[in-house]
Protein backbone atom coordinates (compact mmCIF):
# COMPACT_ATOMS: atom_id res chain seq x y z
CA UNK A 1 0.00 0.00 0.00
CA UNK A 2 1.50 3.31 -1.01
CA UNK A 3 1.65 6.31 1.28
CA UNK A 4 -0.84 8.14 -0.94
CA UNK A 5 -3.40 5.32 -0.78
CA UNK A 6 -2.99 5.07 2.98
CA UNK A 7 -3.51 8.80 3.35
CA UNK A 8 -6.60 8.64 1.14
CA UNK A 9 -8.00 5.72 3.16
CA UNK A 10 -7.32 7.48 6.44
CA UNK A 11 -9.00 10.59 5.04
CA UNK A 12 -12.09 8.64 3.98
CA UNK A 13 -12.29 6.93 7.38
CA UNK A 14 -12.05 10.32 9.03
CA UNK A 15 -14.79 11.64 6.75
CA UNK A 16 -17.00 8.64 7.64
CA UNK A 17 -16.42 9.26 11.33
CA UNK A 18 -17.23 12.95 10.87
CA UNK A 19 -20.41 12.14 8.99
CA UNK A 20 -21.54 9.68 11.69
CA UNK A 21 -21.14 12.48 14.19
CA UNK A 22 -23.13 14.84 11.96
CA UNK A 23 -25.96 12.30 11.77
CA UNK A 24 -25.97 11.77 15.53
CA UNK A 25 -26.00 15.52 16.19
CA UNK A 26 -28.45 16.81 13.60
CA UNK A 27 -30.82 13.94 12.93
CA UNK A 28 -33.28 14.97 15.69
CA UNK A 29 -33.52 18.52 14.31
CA UNK A 30 -34.02 17.43 10.72
CA UNK A 31 -36.62 14.87 11.74
CA UNK A 32 -38.43 17.41 13.92
CA UNK A 33 -38.55 19.98 11.12
CA UNK A 34 -39.90 17.41 8.65
CA UNK A 35 -42.39 16.08 11.19
CA UNK A 36 -43.74 19.58 11.85
CA UNK A 37 -43.85 20.28 8.09
CA UNK A 38 -45.71 17.12 7.14
CA UNK A 39 -47.43 16.01 10.41
CA UNK A 40 -46.75 12.51 9.07
CA UNK A 41 -44.39 10.35 11.14
CA UNK A 42 -43.66 7.80 8.41
CA UNK A 43 -43.11 10.43 5.74
CA UNK A 44 -40.88 12.46 8.07
CA UNK A 45 -38.77 9.38 8.81
CA UNK A 46 -38.47 8.53 5.12
CA UNK A 47 -37.52 12.07 4.16
CA UNK A 48 -35.00 12.23 7.02
CA UNK A 49 -33.38 9.03 5.77
CA UNK A 50 -33.31 10.43 2.23
CA UNK A 51 -31.84 13.68 3.49
CA UNK A 52 -28.91 11.96 5.21
CA UNK A 53 -28.41 9.61 2.28
CA UNK A 54 -28.14 12.58 -0.06
CA UNK A 55 -25.90 14.40 2.40
CA UNK A 56 -23.62 11.35 2.65
CA UNK A 57 -23.28 11.20 -1.12
CA UNK A 58 -22.33 14.88 -1.25
CA UNK A 59 -20.36 14.96 1.99
CA UNK A 60 -17.03 15.15 0.20
CA UNK A 61 -18.23 18.21 -1.68
CA UNK A 62 -19.41 20.10 1.41
CA UNK A 63 -17.39 23.33 1.47
CA UNK A 64 -18.54 24.62 4.87
CA UNK A 65 -19.77 27.88 3.35
CA UNK A 66 -22.70 27.55 5.75
CA UNK A 67 -23.17 25.51 8.93
CA UNK A 68 -23.81 21.78 8.53
CA UNK A 69 -27.31 22.21 9.93
CA UNK A 70 -28.14 24.92 7.38
CA UNK A 71 -26.82 22.68 4.59
CA UNK A 72 -28.87 19.73 5.85
CA UNK A 73 -31.97 21.90 6.20
CA UNK A 74 -31.57 23.01 2.60
CA UNK A 75 -31.45 19.37 1.48
CA UNK A 76 -34.50 18.55 3.63
CA UNK A 77 -36.50 21.50 2.22
CA UNK A 78 -35.65 20.48 -1.35
CA UNK A 79 -36.60 16.85 -0.68
CA UNK A 80 -39.89 17.97 0.78
CA UNK A 81 -40.57 20.17 -2.26
CA UNK A 82 -39.74 17.27 -4.59
CA UNK A 83 -42.06 15.01 -2.63
CA UNK A 84 -45.05 17.35 -2.92
CA UNK A 85 -44.28 18.06 -6.58
CA UNK A 86 -44.25 14.33 -7.30
CA UNK A 87 -47.50 13.88 -5.42
CA UNK A 88 -49.15 16.61 -7.48
CA UNK A 89 -47.92 14.98 -10.69
CA UNK A 90 -49.23 11.61 -9.52
CA UNK A 91 -52.76 12.97 -9.11
CA UNK A 92 -54.28 9.73 -10.35
CA UNK A 93 -52.94 7.92 -7.35
CA UNK A 94 -54.69 7.90 -4.03
CA UNK A 95 -54.27 11.18 -2.18
CA UNK A 96 -54.61 9.61 1.26
CA UNK A 97 -51.82 10.55 3.63
CA UNK A 98 -50.88 9.40 7.10
CA UNK A 99 -50.74 12.95 8.40
CA UNK A 100 -52.35 13.35 11.80
CA UNK A 101 -55.01 16.01 12.22
CA UNK A 102 -54.55 19.26 14.10
CA UNK A 103 -56.24 18.13 17.31
CA UNK A 104 -54.03 15.03 17.53
CA UNK A 105 -50.90 17.05 16.87
CA UNK A 106 -51.96 19.51 19.58
CA UNK A 107 -52.13 16.73 22.19
CA UNK A 108 -48.38 16.83 22.57
CA UNK A 109 -47.51 19.10 25.43
CA UNK A 110 -44.56 18.77 27.80
CA UNK A 111 -45.74 17.68 31.24
CA UNK A 112 -44.81 20.74 33.25
CA UNK A 113 -45.94 22.10 36.53
CA UNK A 114 -48.90 23.93 35.00
CA UNK A 115 -52.46 23.28 36.11
CA UNK A 116 -55.01 21.42 33.97
CA UNK A 117 -56.58 24.76 33.02
CA UNK A 118 -53.25 26.07 31.81
CA UNK A 119 -52.66 22.83 29.91
CA UNK A 120 -56.02 23.25 28.22
CA UNK A 121 -55.24 26.84 27.26
CA UNK A 122 -51.85 25.78 25.94
CA UNK A 123 -53.48 23.05 23.87
CA UNK A 124 -55.88 25.57 22.36
CA UNK A 125 -53.04 27.91 21.51
CA UNK A 126 -51.04 25.09 19.91
CA UNK A 127 -54.09 24.01 17.97
CA UNK A 128 -54.54 27.60 16.76
CA UNK A 129 -50.96 27.74 15.49
CA UNK A 130 -51.40 24.42 13.63
CA UNK A 131 -54.60 25.72 12.02
CA UNK A 132 -52.83 28.92 10.96
CA UNK A 133 -49.98 26.89 9.48
CA UNK A 134 -52.45 25.00 7.31
CA UNK A 135 -53.32 28.27 5.60
CA UNK A 136 -49.71 29.20 4.84
CA UNK A 137 -47.86 28.42 1.65
CA UNK A 138 -45.17 25.74 1.78
CA UNK A 139 -42.38 28.30 1.77
CA UNK A 140 -43.97 30.43 4.52
CA UNK A 141 -44.55 27.36 6.63
CA UNK A 142 -40.92 26.23 6.26
CA UNK A 143 -39.61 29.67 7.19
CA UNK A 144 -41.97 29.88 10.16
CA UNK A 145 -40.90 26.45 11.46
CA UNK A 146 -37.20 27.18 10.97
CA UNK A 147 -37.57 30.41 12.91
CA UNK A 148 -39.94 29.50 15.74
CA UNK A 149 -39.34 25.78 16.20
CA UNK A 150 -35.69 25.33 15.18
CA UNK A 151 -34.73 28.84 16.36
CA UNK A 152 -32.55 29.59 13.37
CA UNK A 153 -31.67 33.22 12.69
CA UNK A 154 -32.74 35.11 9.59
CA UNK A 155 -29.38 34.71 7.81
CA UNK A 156 -29.35 30.92 8.33
CA UNK A 157 -32.94 30.63 7.13
CA UNK A 158 -32.03 32.69 4.07
CA UNK A 159 -29.17 30.31 3.27
CA UNK A 160 -31.30 27.22 3.90
CA UNK A 161 -34.13 28.41 1.70
CA UNK A 162 -32.01 30.16 -0.92
CA UNK A 163 -33.86 33.44 -0.39
CA UNK A 164 -32.64 36.87 0.58
CA UNK A 165 -32.86 38.09 4.16
CA UNK A 166 -35.54 40.61 3.19
CA UNK A 167 -37.71 37.99 1.56
CA UNK A 168 -37.40 35.75 4.60
CA UNK A 169 -38.45 38.63 6.87
CA UNK A 170 -41.43 39.41 4.64
CA UNK A 171 -42.57 35.76 4.69
CA UNK A 172 -42.14 35.62 8.45
CA UNK A 173 -44.15 38.78 8.93
CA UNK A 174 -47.01 37.40 6.86
CA UNK A 175 -46.89 34.08 8.68
CA UNK A 176 -46.98 35.80 12.07
CA UNK A 177 -49.91 37.93 11.01
CA UNK A 178 -51.79 34.82 10.00
CA UNK A 179 -51.04 33.11 13.31
CA UNK A 180 -52.04 36.18 15.30
CA UNK A 181 -55.25 36.39 13.31
CA UNK A 182 -56.00 32.74 13.99
CA UNK A 183 -55.40 33.20 17.70
CA UNK A 184 -57.94 36.02 17.80
CA UNK A 185 -55.59 38.96 17.95
CA UNK A 186 -55.22 41.80 15.48
CA UNK A 187 -53.66 40.86 12.14
Amino acid sequence: MTMQTATRLAGSELAEADFSEVVATHRPQIFRFLLASTRDVDLAETLTQDCFLKAHRNWAGFRAESSVLTWLMRIAINLQKDHWRNRRLQFWRTTRTNAVDVSEASDWLPSGESSPEQQLLARERVSGVWRALEKLSGRQKSIFLLRYVEEMDIAEIAKATGLSDGTVKAHLSRALSRVREQLGGKA
Partner: protein, 149 residues
Protein backbone atom coordinates in the same frame (compact mmCIF):
# COMPACT_ATOMS: atom_id res chain seq x y z
CA UNK B 1 -43.20 25.99 30.44
CA UNK B 2 -42.46 29.52 31.69
CA UNK B 3 -38.78 28.95 30.89
CA UNK B 4 -39.76 28.07 27.31
CA UNK B 5 -41.73 31.30 27.00
CA UNK B 6 -38.84 33.35 28.35
CA UNK B 7 -36.54 31.62 25.89
CA UNK B 8 -38.84 32.44 22.97
CA UNK B 9 -39.21 36.01 24.17
CA UNK B 10 -35.44 36.43 24.35
CA UNK B 11 -34.84 34.72 21.01
CA UNK B 12 -37.45 36.65 19.04
CA UNK B 13 -37.55 40.31 20.01
CA UNK B 14 -39.98 41.11 17.18
CA UNK B 15 -42.80 39.54 19.19
CA UNK B 16 -44.58 42.21 21.16
CA UNK B 17 -47.86 40.36 21.61
CA UNK B 18 -47.75 38.24 24.81
CA UNK B 19 -50.52 35.98 23.57
CA UNK B 20 -48.64 35.29 20.35
CA UNK B 21 -45.42 34.80 22.29
CA UNK B 22 -47.06 32.25 24.58
CA UNK B 23 -48.63 30.48 21.62
CA UNK B 24 -45.31 30.23 19.82
CA UNK B 25 -43.58 28.97 22.98
CA UNK B 26 -46.26 26.34 23.54
CA UNK B 27 -46.15 25.36 19.89
CA UNK B 28 -42.38 24.94 19.99
CA UNK B 29 -42.60 22.83 23.17
CA UNK B 30 -45.38 20.75 21.68
CA UNK B 31 -43.46 19.98 18.46
CA UNK B 32 -40.31 19.13 20.45
CA UNK B 33 -42.29 16.81 22.77
CA UNK B 34 -43.96 15.07 19.84
CA UNK B 35 -40.72 14.65 17.92
CA UNK B 36 -38.82 13.41 21.00
CA UNK B 37 -41.56 10.93 21.77
CA UNK B 38 -41.55 9.52 18.23
CA UNK B 39 -37.76 9.39 18.19
CA UNK B 40 -37.53 7.59 21.54
CA UNK B 41 -40.13 5.08 20.37
CA UNK B 42 -38.29 4.48 17.08
CA UNK B 43 -34.95 4.09 18.83
CA UNK B 44 -36.46 1.64 21.34
CA UNK B 45 -37.95 -0.39 18.49
CA UNK B 46 -34.65 -0.24 16.59
CA UNK B 47 -32.60 -1.37 19.60
CA UNK B 48 -35.12 -4.17 20.27
CA UNK B 49 -34.71 -5.33 16.70
CA UNK B 50 -30.93 -5.11 16.98
CA UNK B 51 -30.73 -7.03 20.28
CA UNK B 52 -33.05 -9.78 19.10
CA UNK B 53 -30.88 -12.54 17.66
CA UNK B 54 -31.48 -12.66 13.99
CA UNK B 55 -32.63 -16.06 12.93
CA UNK B 56 -33.42 -16.84 9.38
CA UNK B 57 -37.14 -16.89 9.04
CA UNK B 58 -38.34 -20.43 8.20
CA UNK B 59 -39.25 -20.42 4.57
CA UNK B 60 -42.18 -22.79 4.91
CA UNK B 61 -42.94 -22.87 1.25
CA UNK B 62 -39.39 -23.67 0.27
CA UNK B 63 -39.03 -26.26 3.04
CA UNK B 64 -42.26 -27.92 2.03
CA UNK B 65 -41.21 -27.94 -1.61
CA UNK B 66 -37.89 -29.51 -0.67
CA UNK B 67 -39.58 -32.14 1.49
CA UNK B 68 -42.06 -32.97 -1.26
CA UNK B 69 -39.39 -33.20 -3.92
CA UNK B 70 -37.26 -35.39 -1.65
CA UNK B 71 -40.22 -37.66 -0.92
CA UNK B 72 -41.05 -37.87 -4.63
CA UNK B 73 -37.44 -38.64 -5.52
CA UNK B 74 -37.19 -41.28 -2.82
CA UNK B 75 -40.50 -42.79 -3.95
CA UNK B 76 -39.41 -42.87 -7.58
CA UNK B 77 -36.06 -44.50 -6.74
CA UNK B 78 -37.70 -47.05 -4.42
CA UNK B 79 -40.34 -47.82 -7.03
CA UNK B 80 -37.72 -48.28 -9.72
CA UNK B 81 -35.62 -50.57 -7.53
CA UNK B 82 -38.66 -52.62 -6.52
CA UNK B 83 -39.84 -52.88 -10.12
CA UNK B 84 -36.41 -54.00 -11.25
CA UNK B 85 -36.21 -56.59 -8.49
CA UNK B 86 -39.71 -57.79 -9.30
CA UNK B 87 -38.82 -58.13 -12.97
CA UNK B 88 -35.70 -60.12 -12.07
CA UNK B 89 -37.71 -62.47 -9.84
CA UNK B 90 -40.30 -62.99 -12.58
CA UNK B 91 -37.61 -63.64 -15.17
CA UNK B 92 -35.93 -66.10 -12.83
CA UNK B 93 -39.22 -67.91 -12.22
CA UNK B 94 -39.91 -68.03 -15.96
CA UNK B 95 -36.45 -69.41 -16.58
CA UNK B 96 -36.96 -72.07 -13.91
CA UNK B 97 -40.28 -73.01 -15.42
CA UNK B 98 -38.78 -73.31 -18.89
CA UNK B 99 -35.90 -75.34 -17.51
CA UNK B 100 -38.30 -77.70 -15.76
CA UNK B 101 -40.35 -78.06 -18.93
CA UNK B 102 -37.28 -78.89 -20.95
CA UNK B 103 -36.16 -81.38 -18.34
CA UNK B 104 -39.60 -82.95 -18.30
CA UNK B 105 -39.58 -83.17 -22.07
CA UNK B 106 -36.14 -84.75 -21.99
CA UNK B 107 -37.24 -87.26 -19.36
CA UNK B 108 -40.37 -88.07 -21.34
CA UNK B 109 -38.33 -88.51 -24.51
CA UNK B 110 -35.86 -90.76 -22.73
CA UNK B 111 -38.70 -92.75 -21.22
CA UNK B 112 -40.31 -93.17 -24.59
CA UNK B 113 -37.02 -94.17 -26.13
CA UNK B 114 -36.44 -96.73 -23.38
CA UNK B 115 -39.91 -98.20 -23.86
CA UNK B 116 -39.41 -98.45 -27.57
CA UNK B 117 -36.07 -100.25 -27.07
CA UNK B 118 -37.59 -102.73 -24.69
CA UNK B 119 -40.44 -103.48 -27.10
CA UNK B 120 -38.02 -103.94 -29.96
CA UNK B 121 -35.84 -106.28 -27.95
CA UNK B 122 -38.87 -108.28 -26.83
CA UNK B 123 -40.09 -108.55 -30.41
CA UNK B 124 -36.67 -109.62 -31.63
CA UNK B 125 -36.52 -112.24 -28.86
CA UNK B 126 -39.88 -113.62 -29.77
CA UNK B 127 -39.04 -113.64 -33.47
CA UNK B 128 -35.77 -115.39 -32.84
CA UNK B 129 -37.45 -117.88 -30.55
CA UNK B 130 -40.05 -118.70 -33.17
CA UNK B 131 -37.90 -118.93 -36.30
CA UNK B 132 -34.70 -120.58 -35.15
CA UNK B 133 -35.08 -124.44 -34.88
CA UNK B 134 -33.98 -126.29 -31.89
CA UNK B 135 -30.39 -127.27 -31.93
CA UNK B 136 -31.30 -130.93 -31.38
CA UNK B 137 -34.02 -131.06 -34.03
CA UNK B 138 -32.03 -132.80 -36.86
CA UNK B 139 -30.72 -135.39 -34.46
CA UNK B 140 -34.17 -136.13 -33.15
CA UNK B 141 -35.44 -136.64 -36.66
CA UNK B 142 -32.66 -139.03 -37.42
CA UNK B 143 -33.51 -141.08 -34.36
CA UNK B 144 -37.09 -141.36 -35.40
CA UNK B 145 -36.06 -142.55 -38.85
CA UNK B 146 -33.77 -145.30 -37.37
CA UNK B 147 -36.46 -146.77 -35.11
CA UNK B 148 -38.77 -147.14 -38.03
CA UNK B 149 -36.27 -149.30 -39.96
Amino acid sequence: MRDERNKVEKAFPELDDPNLRDALGDFRSSVHAWSDSVRVRSEAAYSAVRTTPVRPAPAWGRTLAWALSLALSAGAVTGAVYERHHQQVLAQQQHQRELQLVQQQQIAAQQQHANESEDLLAKIDSDVAREVPSAMEPLAQMMTDDSGN
